[in-house]
């Protein structure tokens, strides 16, 4: 089950998705079973986050507009990082910022013992590009990743957004700028309206869609990115079972993150790890890495240009 993602060794390829996991999870199961631990995105200074409601259920999914409520990097350094050291799983700290400079500050501040890698959340709207996110655009992605890369020795995972038509180009740019892995992907910008009150169901009007409804789209992105980058891909979007995780690996992911399903099943990640082991036995796979990118596709070239329908 072992994998190595950008220099971080993990006992299995399953980790939580940022924002759906926290210290409280340790009350539910032993965190040492996880491939890695991933924090909620932290910002440099404390932030309130968005006004409520912050969550709305959709068909086979949910929209969240939490808005990075954060205690600030100092609190993380003083409390979360030491807390997670009791577990035998590498810690990945997710960082989020409104400017490239703030990203660099954060990366420096959080490059401390106990942190195995930094996940850079470049899929949130920023202040430098008119509310767009860096990861919507290859050039912006290169710029910010390159800048952060120079500020830390830690492995960097760039978390991409699905709200782009250029996911492969963005991934290629992240790789070129020195990212050690890409996380594909964050949530899909979405909206739901209550037809009785005519009000959006989340306070922020729009929010990010996650959960099983997103899987076919994100899986496709993993497949596309895999063909173009050499660094490992961490698949993230709608994973709710061992089969889903395996499907992502077959499409090209070296590891996976589980988000929304943690809410549905608080021990979901434990079940998924177990199910992946059973799949490997059933299919006589000695190493799960053999699955990565193993999708059976004939006439590969024809297909790349094929119509969606």
């Amino acid at each position: 089950m072992k994998v190595s993602i950008g220099g971080v060794s993990m006992k299995n390829p399953v980790m939580p998705a940022s924002g759906t996991f926290a210290e409280e999870t340790a009350q539910i199961f032993d965190l040492s079973v996880l491939g890695a631990l991933v924090t909620k995105s932290v910002t440099k200074y404390p932030r309130m986050g968005n006004r409520g409601p912050r969550i709305a259920e959709t068909i086979a999914g949910m929209i969240n507009a939490v808005g990075i409520q954060s205690k600030g990097s100092q609190v993380i350094r003083e409390t979360s990082i030491p807390f997670y050291q009791q577990f035998n799983s590498p810690l990945i700290v997710s960082i989020s910022a409104d400017t490239a400079d703030e990203f660099v500050d954060l990366a420096q501040e959080l490059s401390v013992p106990g942190v195995a890698a930094l996940e850079i959340n470049i899929s949130c709207p920023n202040l430098e590009d008119d509310g767009r996110s860096y990861a919507m655009d290859p050039t912006q992605t290169y710029r910010v990743v390159d800048y952060i890369r120079k500020s830390t020795q830690l492995p960097l995972y760039a978390k991409l957004t699905p709200n782009t038509n250029a996911i492969t180009e963005v991934a290629v740019a992240a790789e070129a700028a020195g990212a050690d892995a890409v996380v594909v992907a964050n949530t899909m910008l979405s909206m739901v309206i209550d037809v009785e009150t005519r009000k959006p169901k989340v306070g922020n009007i729009m929010g990010g869609l996650s959960g099983p409804c997103t899987k076919p789209v994100i899986l496709r992105m993993v497949y596309q990115v895999y063909k173009k980058v050499g660094i490992p891909i961490i698949g993230c979007g709608g994973i709710c079972s061992a089969e889903d995780a395996i499907e992502y690996m077959i499409a090209g992911a070296s590891a996976v993150q589980v988000g929304t399903y943690n809410f549905v099943n608080p021990i979901g990640m434990v079940d998924i790890i177990q199910g992946m082991k059973e799949y490997a036995v059933r299919h006589r796979i000695s190493s799960l890495s053999d699955l990565v990118g193993s999708v059976c596709v004939d006439e590969q070239t024809r297909i790349d240009k094929a119509a969606a329908y």
Partner: protein, 261 residues
Amino acid sequence: MKLLQGTVLSNTWVSPRYKHMSIHAPEIVEECKAGQFFHLKCSDSFSPLLRRPMSIYKIVKKEGEIHFLYLIKGEGTKCLANMHQGDQLNMFGPLGNGFTLQTEWHSLLIVARGVGLATMAPLIDMATKQGIATYAILSARTKGDILSADYMKECGAEVVSLTDEDRDSDVEHVRKMVENVIDSKSIDALFTCGSKRLTNMLKGISLQRKIPGQVAMEENMGCGSGMCFCCVKPFNRGGEIVNLRVCSEGPVFQLEEVMEL
């Protein structure tokens, strides 16, 4: 908090809109406290996807039973309503902080409306067992919806019921009743759940009369256990506005901290 499978003992209509469900879950019953809740998986399918928060309505320690009293509102509670005796219910809990009682309190006033009634019943039970007197003003749309009045009386409360259909449930009328009870019963603390307007009104009285109060709040939830910050609401804590998680820092909050809802 535990993740467990409870067994449905009964699940019966108690009014045209409410059902009462009793669950056999002996492994958890000792941990449960009035004001806490469970996060329930209402179906095996992906729709509805998320769990549903449900207050503990009744704890029967001896029999290992947890009860819920719930309004059938949307898809999730519809699925709950379809469960039968013997079915397994996937429960996560107990979650959150329950009500707290000070040893020096002698009499409590409880004001609840709608689904909030369910939350208040075990508080009365707890207070009675500690020798504290309870007075409950219950409000609902119809007489049929004031379901827990009998159970509350059984638990030891003195109960008044108000309904929209009787046109005696408006906030001003409730305010007068509350003030009467406070004056005549020398109330030590106020408790409420289920109505924004009643909470606002009660907060005013609490501040004015310097009577402490607690309120059980509701908010849409993701994880139910403090991890996702989906359920936060702003509170006024010591003059500062802070976002607190209803699931883990609540659902019971001090009345004085509640912001105008």
